[in-house]
């Protein structure tokens, strides 16, 4: 095992800013993209549901 304590792990041998900056932003991007897609999907579905509902009423 390379690390003796959690503090040492988070310090990354003095490269904490660079290592966590890379992994943090990547993790953030990989989280936000699916969330934005979920939102886009629910918006489309909602407008579709509304459209179909209106159609059903007029029928």
């Amino acid at each position: 095992m390379t690390w003796n304590s959690p503090a040492e792990f988070f310090a990354m041998g003095g490269y904490a800013f660079y290592v966590w900056g890379s992994f943090g932003v990547t993790a953030l991007a990989l989280l936000i993209e699916p969330l934005l897609l979920k939102k886009r999907r629910s918006e489309v579905l909602q407008s579709l549901r509304r459209e179909l509902f209106a159609k059903g009423k007029s029928r």
Binding site: Y15, R41, L45
Partner: protein, 246 residues
């Protein structure tokens, strides 16, 4: 065999299939990601020259690979869509572009964060970094062109031509940038002189790349499903989907 393939080439059948595949790819992405992070942070030894800073490699290499691989895949689907007039493949190309652009950006971002402690600058005009920047521009051009055209089929075809022209140009651009780089910089900085890589490092990188690959598949399928709904909103099969019943 071919009957099955053609069946799934139509949005009506591909939509539920994609929906079934997304959870699998997501789970695979999580598994590979966990394995890659564990290997990268806990098994791979400290690098002799770069200390712990080298651990950025685990994300950087995967992101760079994906950014290039996605561009090729995107151009492939766009080309298929153009020559065989298949809507589904064009939609796939459109769905891949934003993810590819994101990986190009992440590759640049992690490259800058790696360069600062190792070379002392955020940015070097290295042939690879410069090509990656140009690749990002190519993605942005593709996305902007498709966004500017209202009619979906015209956007598909125009984007396809641009993507194919881009694919022809990427090697030329890479070669020209490399040529320019050797004349201007000599051998000051080079990403290629990687230290003899431990097997665990290589394995960790591979796992992370697989994680990003599975992630891309999951997200691209999610996006293509949304695009299908948006474009085919007035068709019968969309009206019959269980999720849109009022």
């Amino acid at each position: 065999m071919s009957v099955i393939t053609w069946k799934y080439a139509s949005p009506q059948y591909f939509y539920p299939l994609a929906g079934k595949m997304i959870p699998w790819f997501s789970v695979l992405a999580l598994l590979f990601g966990a394995a890659g992070l564990w290997l990268g942070f806990f098994v791979a030894p400290t690098d002799a020259q770069q200390g712990e800073g080298y651990r950025i490699i685990f994300i950087h290499v995967g992101a760079s690979w994906m950014s290039m691989f996605i561009y090729l895949t995107m151009a492939f689907w766009a080309g298929i869509g153009l020559s065989f007039n298949t809507r589904m493949s064009s939609m796939m190309a459109t769905a891949l572009a934003p993810t590819g652009a994101m990986f190009a950006f992440l590759s640049l971002w992690t490259g800058a964060l790696w360069g600062k402690p190792m070379w002392g600058t955020w940015w070097v005009w290295d042939a690879r970094l410069t090509s990656e920047l140009i690749l990002l521009f190519l993605y942005l051009g593709f996305i902007a062109l498709q966004a500017a055209i209202d009619e979906p089929r015209r956007a598909d075809k125009a984007g396809a031509i641009l993507a194919l022209v881009g694919v022809v140009n990427v090697p030329i651009i890479y070669f020209s940038v490399k040529w320019w780089n050797t004349l201007h910089q000599g051998a000051s900085v080079s990403l290629t002189q990687a230290p003899s890589m431990a097997k665990t490092m290589l394995l960790g990188m591979l796992m992370m790349a697989l994680c990003l690959w599975m992630y891309t598949l999951a997200v691209a399928l999610m996006r293509v499903r949304v695009i299908m709904l948006e474009r085919e909103r007035h068709s019968e099969w969309v009206a019959q989907l269980p999720e849109v019943q009022p």
